[in-house]
Structures are given as C-alpha cells and as structure tokens.
C-alpha cells in the first residue's frame, strides 16, 4: 500500500472537516470503549492475564528462531508448506506463484492486515487474478476502492447511506429501485453476493492471529464466519502471517485469546476461533488439499534487540486506537498507511521508514491511555518518544518543533516539574477560555485551532478530568 503518512498534518485537517467521518467517530467511540470496559470488569483476573500475555510474548520473541523452526517442522508434518519471505516482494511473488500454478481465476480473502501491508489485491489484479474480500467491511471498501481506516472495524468510517449507495452502484443485476429498509437488508444482500464468490473461488487467503509452534497451527478469529468459508471451500488455503504471530503452545494461545476479544470488541470470545493445521486428511469430506503459510519478516526481525522490540508483542486488538484522543478526532486514514493509531505511530516508521512516517509519533497527546488498555502492556508512549528523539537527532524536525521538543523533553523527564507545568498550564487555559468553554486560538498552535476549537481544561489536568469522566461513564453503563 502506498503511504500518505508524510502528509499526516494535511490528512488530519481534512479528516477534522469531514462531516461523515466525524459522525462515524462520534458513533463508534462509546461503542468500543464501553464494551471493553464492561468485559474487563466482568473478569477479575484480567490484569494478571495481561501480565502473563506480556511474558508469553517476551519469552517467544527471545527464542523466536527456535519456535519458528519447530512450528515450520510441524506445518510440514501436516502436509503444509512454509514460504519464508524476508521482504514484501518475496511474499507477493510467493502468493502469485501459488495462484498461477493452480490456475486460479478468483481468490476469496478473509481480513488480513498483512495483505494490506503487502498490497496483495493490487498485485493479483495486475496479473489477471480477481481477489474478492469477504469480510463485510473489507468488501465494501473493495467496492469503493478505499483502504481500511481501523484494524478490526475497517469500514467504521462509513455511514448507512454510503453502504446503500455503493451496493446500488456495484450490484447492477438487482432491481435499481429496491429498498433497504433496515441494516439487515444490506447484510442479506452482501451474504447472497458473497456466497456465490465463496463457491467459485480457486484459492482462499486468510491472515492469522496466532501461529502455534507445538502443533504447527494457524489461528483466525472472526465473528462473521467469512474466514472459515474462505479457508474451507477452495482447494487451496494460503495463510499470510508475520513472524511475531508465534506462540509456543495451545495453552499460551488460550491466554492470548482470553485477552484478544475482550480488548478488541468487548466480547468474552469471538464467534469463530479456528485452528488450522495442514491439509485435508484421508476420509475428510471437506477442507483444502493444499495449505501454505507465507511467513513474512519485512523489517520485523530488525526490531529485535532494539528499543522497539516490545512492539512485536502486539496482537492487533485495536484497543489503543479505540482509546486514543488523536485517533478519536482524525480517524484512521489520516495516518496514511496500513496501521493507524498509537500502534501504527510506532510500527509504521519501522516498516516504511522514519523519513516517510516521521510525523506519526508526534500524533500523540502522551496521555498514556493506549498503554493502559494494551492487553500485552506495550509502552506505546515511550516508544513514540524514542522515535521523536531519533527524528530529532536526525534533524528532520523543523526548527521551532525542535526547540519546543527539547524544552518539553527537559520538563517531561522531571515528573514533578511536568505535573506542576501541566497544572499551571491547565489553570491558565481554563481562565482564558472560561467564557465559552472553548478556545479558538491557542498560542503556538494555530494549525490545530484553525480546524477546531481547543476545549479548555476547566481548571483540571487531563489525567484528573479523564479519571472523573471515566467514573461517570461507568456509573451510566
């Protein structure tokens, strides 16, 4: 996928002015945050499970070569093939090679962020193979030729009108004057359209939430069942997985699964959690005859042994973006590449380069909310600071930012001073904006306040106010 990350600032301006997007953001935020909070509250062991999840991932990363080799051996024992792909080019070539060898015309696809990272759809299309996204959100994005704006709710930015309009435009074989009375009618139409695609596909491509060394399995987690149809009906199943998806055993995977759905959608468990291990066995009446895993590195191994190693624990739950005040205002597209929000701000520069994505680590208020909800306790704000420091050292930052950042760094490294400074700042701002509760201008931040008013802090720091708002919300839920 081509990146527009260097234009983060302009992207963000556009996003703030986008009425449809702002409507979607307002609708979505309470949904995700409220449900996660409820699910976590219902499981008293959650905090301890997070610590265990962090430790499992750390153990796996420290021994990643061993576990990858063990896993690959078990995949092969079950009749599968592992394609070790160091780069995105290698991975695209491997996928295309399999599709061409089996003479594939259409390929169905489950949701996969790695697929977005690799630009698989474009690559297949260029070679005359038709990819069909089957996750409902991905399907409409494919019709509209838009990238996802969220890693688990890829089309959250669309409103009902957008769905109806796209379906009318794409499904021209259906009566043009049909009425979509409810959301259910949209779903029913998509289900019927995609059923035919599932049955016709020659190859099914899915992602993987986890790889399990002990059994040589790949795991997908969905609510729709599209991933399962994608990997069950065609003759060939291709899994796209990056090296950090590894966990050692089923018990380790189970701990991660107790964290994943709760952090992502606030469900206790997703509807379908499916473990795939190799090819159709003798006597089986269904399932693929070929099972391939495209094992992708693409810059991840280079994060080991650096201050960004912890990022490889990420299980792509999206909790950090669902709770991020910046994401909550600009949405996902503004980040300009596959991975948005706090996890994207850390990951994108490592994958496509700091010169491309140097703006992203600045897209943070350093409120710390992302780290506090991350199921594997990734210190996201600290890593964003590392990027800022690196960028600073490389002198990529404009002069004014550099001075302010140095000052901010001086204060931030001294917690007492930082708290004092923010308290004074909050008090001053509260006073300035007292009359209407909003500041339309703020010294040194013209770019920010031109697009929106800065809400005044009403005499409290962010932390204090956030804590009291959260208490209020829980009371209402």
């Amino acid at each position: 996928m081509l990146s527009t990350s260097p234009a983060f600032k302009e992207n963000a301006h556009k996003a703030i002015a986008d009425v449809g997007l702002q409507k979607a953001l307002t609708r979505t935020k309470p949904h995700f945050q409220g449900r996660r909070a409820k699910a976590v509250e219902a499981l008293p062991e959650f905090e301890r499970l997070r610590e265990i999840g962090r430790d499992i991932k750390n153990h796996t990363l420290a021994n990643l070569d061993f576990y990858l080799e063990t896993w690959a051996g078990n995949v092969e024992r079950a009749g599968g093939q592992v394609h070790w792909c160091a780069t995105a080019d290698d991975a695209r070539a491997a996928v295309l090679g399999i599709c061409e060898r089996v003479g594939a015309k259409t390929v169905t696809k489950g949701k996969s962020m790695i697929s977005e990272e690799l630009g698989i759809n474009e690559h297949l299309e260029q070679h005359g193979i038709t990819p069909v996204e089957t996750d409902l959100g991905e399907y409409i994005l494919q019709l509209r030729r838009e990238p996802p704006s969220h890693i688990i709710a890829p089309a959250f930015h669309l409103n009902r009108e957008d769905w109806e309009e796209s379906f009318r435009r794409a499904h021209t074989d259906l009566p043009a004057d049909r009425v979509f009375r409810e959301r259910r009618d949209i779903l029913t139409e998509a289900r019927a359209k995609l059923r035919a695609r599932f049955l016709a596909a020659d190859v099914g491509i899915t992602g993987a939430n986890f790889l399990i060394a002990e059994t040589g399995s790949s795991v997908i987690v969905t609510n729709e069942g599209n991933g399962d149809l994608t990997q069950t009906l065609p003759r060939v199943h291709i899994v796209l997985a990056s090296i950090e998806k590894m966990v050692p055993t089923l018990e380790d995977a189970t701990n991660m699964l107790r964290l994943l759905a709760r952090s992502a959608t606030g469900q206790d468990f997703s509807v379908y959690t499916t473990f795939s291990t190799g090819v159709r066995r003798e006597g089986d009446l269904d399932g693929p005859e070929e099972y391939h895993v495209i094992l992708l590195d693409n810059g991840r191994s280079a994060m080991l042994g650096t201050e960004f190693q912890d990022m490889l624990r990420c299980i792509r739950c999206a909790a950090c973006m669902n709770h991020c005040p910046v994401y909550g205002v600009v949405g996902g597209h503004a980040y300009g590449w596959v991975y948005p929000g706090p996890m994207g701000a850390v990951l994108t520069p490592t994958l496509i380069g700091i010169d491309q994505a140097g703006n992203l680590p600045n897209a943070s208020t350093f409120c710390g909310k992302c780290e506090s909800v991350c199921p594997v306790k990734i210190p996201l704000p600290k890593m964003m600071r590392h990027w800022r420091e690196r960028e600073f050292e490389r002198h990529l930052t404009p002069g004014a930012v550099r001075t302010n950042l140095a000052l901010w760094g001086f204060v931030a490294r001294r917690p007492g001073l930082y708290r004092l400074a923010t308290r004074i700042g909050a008090g001053v701002l509260g006073w300035l904006g007292r009359r209407r509760g909003r500041l339309s201008r703020f010294p040194f931040a013209g770019g920010w306040t031109a697009g929106r008013d800065l809400p005044t802090p009403e005499g409290e720091t962010f932390f204090a106010r956030y804590a009291s708002e959260q208490r209020g919300k829980r009371g209402r839920a």
């Binding site: 979607a24 609708r27 979505t28 062991e45 499970l49 420290a62 021994n63 990643l64 061993f66 576990y67 990858l68 063990t70 078990n74 092969e76 079950a78 070790w84 160091a86 991975a91 070539a93 996750d135 409902l136 959100g137 409103n159 009902r160 959301r183 289900r191 059923r195 060394a213 002990e214 609510n223 729709e224 069942g225 599209n226 149809l229 069950t232 090296i243 050692p248 055993t249 089923l250 018990e251 469900q267 206790d268 997703s270 509807v271 379908y272 499916t274 795939s276 291990t277 090819v279 006597g283 089986d284 009446l285 269904d286 399932g287 391939h292 590195d297 280079a302 080991l304 042994g305 650096t306």
Partner: protein, 251 residues
C-alpha cells in the same frame, strides 16, 4: 519440502530470516541445553492462570454454559436422552417456520438416533452444501467459561456442517461440558490421534460461540453474516451430577 523464496544473489528466505533474528538477538543458534529446556516446555505445555468463573459443580458448569450460550444469542434445549432428539428438532423447526430437511454430519452418535419415529424429518448424512438450510453437527466438547462449542474436523464431523446452513443444530452431551478451554484441549490431546501427523491436532478445530454476526454496518450488531443466523444446541442430560440444582451462576 519447504519452499524457499530466494531471488538470485540473496540467501534463501529461511536462512535470511533466522539469521536476521539471531543477529539482532546478538547470539547464534540456541545452545543444546537451552533448546532442550524449550522442548521440555512444549512437551509439558504448562497451563497459565485459569479464571475462577468456571470453577463450579458439574451442575453449575452446565448452567454457566447455557447462560453464556444464551447471552451470545444461541439457544439450548435440555433433553433426557437421545430418544427425545427427533421430537425436539421437529418442534424447533416448526416453531421457527423452517423446512424439515436437514444435512447431518455422518457421526455414529447422530446415526444412532431413532429418526424413524419422526418420518417427516428428511435427513441426509454428509458434508453441507450452500443450498442446505438446516444442519446437525455432533459436539465434541463444550466450554462453560464462555458458552463455546469445540468442533474438531474429522470424516464424521465435516467443517462445512458448522458453516453453510442458515440454522445450525448441535447435539451435545452434558458430560462433555468442561469449565475452561484448557480442559477441552486435554480431551482432544487424550482422545484423538491424527492419521497424518501422529499427533492429536486435526486439520481444523473450530471454537464456536453463538451464531455468526457482523457489526460492520454502523457498529450495529446483526446476526447471520456469512455463517448460521441461528445456533440451537440439543443438550443430552447424560451426566447424573449435572442434574443437581446448580449454585447461582454469575451472569
């Protein structure tokens, strides 16, 4: 057997990736004693913390399972024994206004049900096709913790039966309901041998919690996305202890 993506002039992918990992971890391949420790961990596959919520009496676990299935929009009918199954299915289908044609997994437990007592039910044993409206699967085990069915693929338990019909019926014995996922994995480890690998893991294991759904349209939940819209579990009370009065179940 392993396919290597190796453009000319660069080491094969496997060597490149493993080499890069070791270089960045600042070590070579693991020394034998450390590798042996990791192999021992894999062999022992230690359990981690298991949430206390499923630590209940047998009756409590069954009640928790049912409560969780219903919370996730599934339904459960408790039946005294297999003889009650045909009638329960006929009633359910009539209630939901559904046709009485069913594709059934070719599992011995399902074949042994006295179907002849309900001649109006039309059964076909085999894998499911896209045109099937109602399916009947055999449940290998179930997990009370979240109301989850464990459905491992086998010749007698095809995966398509879990997925293609609009209404999915599953026959489950109460004695096969366990508290936590870990206990269900142990059943699989103990009872299943894979013909291809000699291990226990079948080609596919589905953990199913409620009927298929999507919230992609305006974050509003709709049931029946690509998989079944209804999930109805026929629960056979074959477990004496599970018939006692359960302690109160946390919702």
């Amino acid at each position: 057997m392993s396919a290597e993506a190796s453009p000319p002039g660069r080491p094969p992918g496997r060597v490149a990736i493993l080499g890069a990992i070791r270089r960045h971890l600042r070590r070579g391949a693991l020394p034998e004693d450390q590798a042996a420790m990791l192999r021992a961990r894999l062999a022992a596959h230690p359990r981690h913390l298991i949430p206390a919520r499923s630590r209940l009496s047998r009756a409590g676990q069954v009640a928790l399972f049912i409560a969780n299935v219903e919370k996730e929009f599934g339904s459960v009918a408790r039946l005294a024994d297999a003889r009650a199954v045909p009638g329960a299915i006929a009633d359910y289908l009539a209630q939901q206004n559904l046709p009485s044609e069913i594709v059934m997994a070719p599992h011995p437990e399902l074949r042994e049900i006295p179907w002849a007592e309900r001649p109006l039910l039309k059964l076909r044993a085999g894998r499911a096709e896209a045109s099937d409206l109602v399916s009947l699967q055999q449940g290998f085990a179930a997990i009370a913790e979240t109301g989850t069915l464990m459905l491992p693929a086998a010749p007698e338990r095809p995966t398509t039966v879990n997925l293609l019909a609009d209404t999915a019926l599953v026959l489950l014995r109460a004695s096969r309901i366990v508290g936590a996922y870990e206990e269900a994995w142990d059943l699989l480890r103990a009872e299943r041998r894979d013909p291809l690998t000699g291990g226990f893991m079948p080609r596919n294991v589905m953990l199913v919690t409620g009927p298929s759904r999507s919230a992609d349209i305006e974050q509003t939940l709709e049931l029946g996305a690509h998989g079944p819209r209804r999930l109805h579990i026929l629960l056979l009370d074959d477990d004496e202890a599970a018939r006692a009065t359960p302690e109160s179940v946390p919702k």
